[in-house]
Symmetry: C2
Subunit: 610 residues, 2 copies
C-alpha cells in the first residue's frame, strides 16, 4: 500500500484570500474571545489544581482539553508570528502542569482535585481524551517555540499511559471512551521519532472492540464509543460523531504508517458510508442530539439537525488523512464540503460567537408548541458553552488550515484544496516551491506556480461539484485529479472552475429533503433567511430554471445571490383546491456559513421547488 506525505502548516504561508482573512479574524478576535471566556469561567485557573469543595467553578472532566485546544490554536499562531501575550498565558499553564503533574507522569485537573482515588476507573470520564489534547498542544507549542518543557512533561505522561494501558494493563478499562489520544500519540511520534508512541496508538486501535476489553460493555455504550466490533471490521459510521472521526483519523494514520491495507479498507468503507449516506450537504455529521451521534442511513432531518461543529472539523481531519493513504478526489471533496459550510457556520462573522450544533433549518413557528422534550438547535451563536469544545477547536482548525492543501510523493504534488498560499517541500532531495493564488471560493480562477518541479507532475483536484472547467495545459484525469507534467522549473498553470450557482437535490432515500432543492455556488452551500425574504420561508417556491445573479446586501459582508421565485398568497380556508395562485418574489440566498449574523430569523437550506 502506497502512502503520501502531507505538507503541514509549518511549511505553508497563506497569501491574500479567503482563508488569510479568516486566519486574521481568528488571530485578532477569536483566540482572544475564547481565552476571555475560558478565563472568566475558571478553566485556566483550574490548572492550578487548588479547587476545593465549596469554591466556585468546579472543574469539569473535559476542561483540560478545552484549554489544550486553545493552546494548540495559539501555538499555530505563534508559529507564524511570535506573540508574547499568548506565550505568557501558555507558559503559566505549563507551570501549573509541571507543578501538579504526578511523579508518575499523570496529569488531569478533575481527577487530581475532585476524585484522586478514581484515576483511570471510569472509561467515559475523558482522561485519555484530555491527555491526547495536551499532547497535541505540547507538540505544536514545541514546533512553534522550540522550547521543549511542555513536550517533555507530556512525553512523561504518554510513557505513564503506555505503562498503565499497555505494559501493566492495570486501568479499569482498555481503550478510551472518547477517542483522541490515538491520533495525538501519532503526532507525538511524528514530532519525537519515538516509535513507542506510534505503537501505543496502534495498541489502542488493535484493542478497541475486542471481547478482551475489560470495560463492561452494553450495546448502547459500545456503539456510542465505536467499541462494538474491532476497528478493522467496522464499515458503518456509528455513535458519537466526533469520537468516531477522531478514531478514524488514527486508524487512517496507522494504516498509512504500517501500510495496513485491512485498516485502510475499514477507513475507506467508513468514509464512504458517511459520504454516501450519513452527511448533511454542509458536511455536518451526527444527525441527532441524542448522544450527539450518527443514526441510520439517509436520516438527515433539517430543523432538528445536530451536526456539531467539532464533528465537521473531525470529518475534515479524517478526510485529509485519507488523502495521504490513497489518491482519490473523493476525500478532498468531503473535506471541502465540510470546510466551507458545516465548519465555518460554527463561527460568527464577528469572530467571537459560536454554534455547537448547526441547524439546517430554523422554523420559528415549529418551535412554539410544547412538544415535550423536543430538542432544538439554538438560533443564535453564543460566546461560550458549558461544554465548550467547539470554540477552541475552531481556533486550532483555522490556524492550521495550511495543512489541508497538499499531499505529495516522489513524482507528484497533489493540490487538494484551493487556498491561496506559498509552500515549500523537498521532493527527491530537491527543494520545491509552490504558490497558489486564488479568491476561491468566491471565484473559480486558480493560478498555480511551481518552482523546481521540472520533470515532476502537478495533480489538481477537479471538485465533484464542477461540471465545466478549464486547464491551460495538457492534462489527463485520473481519480478525480487533473495531472499535468511540469515542463520547466518555473512552471505556471491556470485552472478555471465554473462557479455558476446550481440547484442540487438529495438522494431519493433522504426523506427529509423530498421535493426540496438547495443552492450551491462552487463548494459553498446557500440558504434563505427570513431577514432577507420575510418569515414563513416554507411559503416560498423556487424555480430551478430561473437565472441566479449576484446581490449586494448593504452592511452585510457575504456574497449573496438572488433569483426569481414565488410566494403563496394568504387565504382564509385551511384546505383549498390544489394549484392556488402564487406571487412572483425575488428570493435572496446567502452562504450557509453566514447565516444567523443579523438577529433571530428563520432559515432554510432546502427550498421547495415550484
Amino acid at each position: 500500500m502506497k502512502s503520501y506525505k502531507g505538507i503541514d502548516y509549518k511549511n505553508v504561508e497563506l497569501l491574500d484570500g479567503f482563508w488569510l482573512q479568516s486566519q486574521k479574524l481568528n488571530r485578532d478576535v477569536t483566540i482572544k474571545s475564547v481565552y476571555e471566556q475560558f478565563n472568566a469561567t475558571g478553566r485556566f485557573d483550574a490548572f492550578r489544581c487548588e479547587w476545593k469543595e465549596g469554591m466556585p467553578n468546579k472543574p469539569h472532566i473535559f476542561w483540560d482539553s478545552d484549554v489544550a485546544k486553545w493552546i494548540e490554536g495559539a501555538a499555530y499562531i505563534i508559529n507564524k508570528q511570535p506573540d508574547r501575550e499568548l506565550e505568557s498565558i501558555i507558559e503559566d499553564v505549563i507551570d501549573c502542569i509541571e507543578r501538579n503533574q504526578g511523579e508518575d507522569g499523570y496529569f488531569n485537573i478533575y481527577f487530581t482535585v475532585c476524585e484522586p482515588e478514581n484515576r483511570f476507573q471510569n472509561r467515559l470520564a475523558h482522561e485519555l481524551y484530555c491527555c491526547g489534547h495536551l499532547i497535541e498542544a505540547a507538540v505544536v507549542y514545541y514546533e512553534a517555540t522550540g522550547r521543549d518543557r511542555f513536550l517533555k512533561l507530556m512525553m512523561k505522561y504518554a510513557d505513564y499511559v503506555e505503562k498503565v494501558f499497555k505494559i501493566e494493563n492495570s486501568a479499569e478499562f482498555s481503550t478510551p471512551g472518547h477517542e483522541e489520544i490515538e491520533l495525538a500519540l501519532i503526532r507525538l511520534y511524528e514530532c519525537t521519532g519515538i516509535k513507542r508512541y506510534l505503537e501505543l496508538a496502534k495498541h489502542f486501535i488493535d484493542t478497541r472492540g475486542q471481547a478482551t476489553s475489560k470495560e463492561v460493555i452494553d450495546e448502547m455504550n459500545s456503539i456510542y464509543s465505536q467499541d462494538h466490533i474491532p476497528c478493522r471490521e467496522q464499515r458503518e459510521a456509528v455513535g458519537h460523531a466526533v469520537r468516531a472521526c477522531y478514531l478514524y483519523c488514527a486508524m487512517a494514520d496507522i494504516a498509512r504508517e504500517y501500510h495496513d491495507r485491512e485498516l485502510f479498507e475499514a477507513c475507506d468503507a467508513l468514509i464512504k458510508n458517511i459520504n454516501y449516506k450519513r452527511m448533511y450537504i454542509t458536511g455536518g455529521i451526527g444527525s441527532t442530539f441524542n448522544n450527539e451521534s450518527f443514526t441510520v442511513d439517509y436520516d438527515l432531518p433539517n430543523s432538528i439537525s445536530y451536526a456539531e461543529t467539532c464533528a465537521a472539523i473531525s470529518l475534515v481531519m479524517f478526510a485529509t488523512r485519507m488523502s495521504q493513504c490513497k489518491v482519490s478526489s473523493l476525500y478532498a471533496d468531503i473535506a471541502e464540503r465540510a470546510l466551507y459550510n458545516g465548519v465555518l457556520s460554527g463561527l460568527s462573522l464577528s469572530g467571537d460567537s459560536f454554534f455547537y450544533e448547526n441547524a439546517l433549518e430554523i422554523n420559528l413557528r415549529d418551535r412554539e408548541p410544547d412538544r415535550g422534550r423536543q430538542h432544538w438547535p439554538i438560533t443564535q451563536r453564543v460566546k461560550v458553552f458549558s461544554c465548550s469544545c467547539c470554540p477552541p477547536n475552531i481556533n486550532r482548525f483555522i490556524a492550521s488550515i495550511g495543512s489541508l492543501i497538499y499531499t505529495y510523493d516522489e513524482e507528484t504534488v497533489y493540490i487538494n484544496q484551493f487556498i491561496a498560499n506559498s509552500a515549500q517541500l523537498e521532493m527527491g532531495g530537491k527543494r520545491v516551491k509552490i504558490k497558489i493564488q486564488t479568491e476561491y471560493p468566491n471565484d473559480g480562477q486558480i493560478r498555480i506556480t511551481a518552482c523546481g518541479m521540472a520533470g515532476k507532475r502537478l495533480a489538481v483536484r477537479i471538485p465533484s461539484w464542477c461540471e465545466k472547467y478549464c486547464v491551460d495545459s495538457q492534462y489527463r484525469i485520473e481519480d478525480g485529479y487533473a495531472y499535468v507534467d511540469c515542463g520547466s522549473d518555473d512552471f505556471e498553470l491556470s485552472l478555471s472552475l465554473d462557479m455558476t450557482p446550481r440547484w442540487v437535490e438529495s438522494n431519493p432515500h433522504v426523506w427529509a429533503n423530498a421535493g426540496l432543492v438547495a443552492l450551491q455556488k462552487g463548494p459553498v452551500v446557500y440558504c434563505a433567511e427570513g431577514v432577507d425574504n420575510g418569515e414563513e420561508l416554507w411559503k416560498i417556491r423556487v424555480d430551478i430554471n430561473e437565472p441566479i445573479s449576484q446581490r449586494v446586501i448593504v452592511g452585510f459582508d457575504a456574497p449573496a445571490l438572488s433569483t426569481k421565485g414565488y410566494c403563496l398568497q394568504d387565504c382564509e380556508d385551511l384546505y383549498i383546491p390544489a394549484g392556488q395562485k402564487t406571487e412572483e418574489k425575488e428570493i435572496t440566498l446567502i452562504p450557509y456559513y453566514a447565516f444567523a449574523n443579523r438577529g433571530v430569523s428563520e432559515m432554510r437550506v432546502w427550498m421547495i421547488k415550484a
Copy 2:
C-alpha cells in the same frame, strides 16, 4: 337568538347504505369486542367495589366512564333491537352501582375502594367526568328500555353533585378538571324535564375560568382544562382537545337553551378557530401527544400527529350542537370532515381494533433513529388501551349516528348529513316523515322523500367541498343550504353531488404541508400506503393534472383510486444536480379511514407534487 331542534336517534331508522353497514359491524363485532376486553381487564368487575390492595386489576380513576360509554353504546343498540345479553350485562352493572352508591348519592369506583377519604379533593381525578358518563348511560338505557332504576340512581347522584358544587360549594374545586358532566346534565334535563339539572350545567359553565374558583390554578393546568378565562371570553381552542370540545358542547347547549348570544359567540369563535387554524384535513384535532392538546395556529405535523379518536368524535358532537344554534353549513361541514376520516380511522375494518391517536403519516425509516423521547403514534390498531376511552366512544358514536342528520324549526327541515334513513318528526302539530336514500359517501346521488311537508321547506346542505351539484327542483342557496319548497305532502327531491376526486392543498401558513397535496373524493380523504405503492412513499410525486380512476384491490373492501404519478430513481450520490429523471408509476390511494388494515406499512395523506 333562534334555535333549532334535532331529530335524535330514537326517531331515525337507518336504511341500507354506508352507515347501516357500520352500525351492523358495531353491533355484531365492536360492542362485543370492547366488552370482552373490558371484562378481561377487570373494568366490569371493578363495579363490585371489592378491590383491595394486593389484588390484581386495581381500578383506574376513569374506569367508570369506560364502562358507562360502553353501556350508552349498548343502550342505543337495544333501543333499536332488544338484546337480552347486553341488557343482562348492564343490569349487573346497575346492581353493583345500586349496592355501592353512597347514602348521599355518591358513586365512584376508584374513590370508593382506593381513596375514600379523598372524595372531591382532586380536580384532575375525573370524578365528575365519570359521573357525567354514568348519567348519559342511564338516560339512554332508560330511553331504550323504559326501566328507570339506573336513571333514578344517577338523578340521586346528580342531586348530590348539585348539593356539593352549587348549594354548599364544599368540594376542593369548583368545576371539573375533565369536562363532560355539563353536557350530561343537559341530557338529564332533556330526559327528565327537571330544570335544576340544566341550571347546574349552566352553573359549571358560569363558574369555569373565574378567579373565584377555589382550585389552585397554574397556567399550564388552567389552559389544559380550558379554565384560563371565563367561558364567554374564550375565542381560541386550547388545552386537552377532548376536554375542550366536551365543554364547548355544553356551552352550545346552554347557549341554545338560554338564548345566550354571548355564549354562542364564544362557541362560534372557538369552532372557527378550530376549522380555520387547528384542524387536520381528517377532522382530527389536538396536534400533540404532550397533554393531548391543541397547540398553536397552523401547527399540524403529520408523522407526530396526535388527533385522538375521541377528539374527532367530540368535534362532531360540538359541530352538531352548533347546527342547533344557527343555520350555517360550516358546522355540518366540520362534522362531516371528522365523521368520514378522523373518527372512522379509529376503528379497524374488522371492527375489533382501535387507534387512540391517528397518524397522518407513517414513515417507518424516520422512526428508526433513537431521538430521545420522541413520541410516535402507533402504526397498527390494537384491541384495548390502558387508557381505553376511544373504543367505547366509537361504540356509542356509531350506534347513535342517526342523531347527526337533521335539525328543524317550524318551517324548515335541514338535512345536515347524507345518511340513508327514514325519520319521523312533528312539525307544527303535523306528523312528518322523511326518507333519505343514498350510497353516500361512495356515491353523490341523494334521493329525499318528504311526507306531510306541503307548504314547508327542505334545506339541504351543499358541502363546501362540492363545486358542482344538481338539485332537481327550484332552489335558492342561503348559508350553504339549498332551500326547496315542498309542493305537496308527497314530495320528492334528488340531489346530485359531483364526487370527482380532487387534489387539495393547505393554507400557506401550514408549514408541515408546504409543497404537498392531498386527495379527497367527496368528504373522504385519501392516503397512499406502502403495501400498495412500495415503501419510501416520499419518493413518489403526484401530478395533480392526471386523471384519477377507480381501482379494485382484490381482498380489500375499500373504494380505492389510482392515478399516474412518478417515482424517483435510485442513485448512489447523496447530493446530485436538481431535476433528476423520474419513472412513471401508477399510484394507488385508499380512503384514510381504511389505512393500516393490511399489516405494518408506510402511509401518507399529504403527497409531494411533481
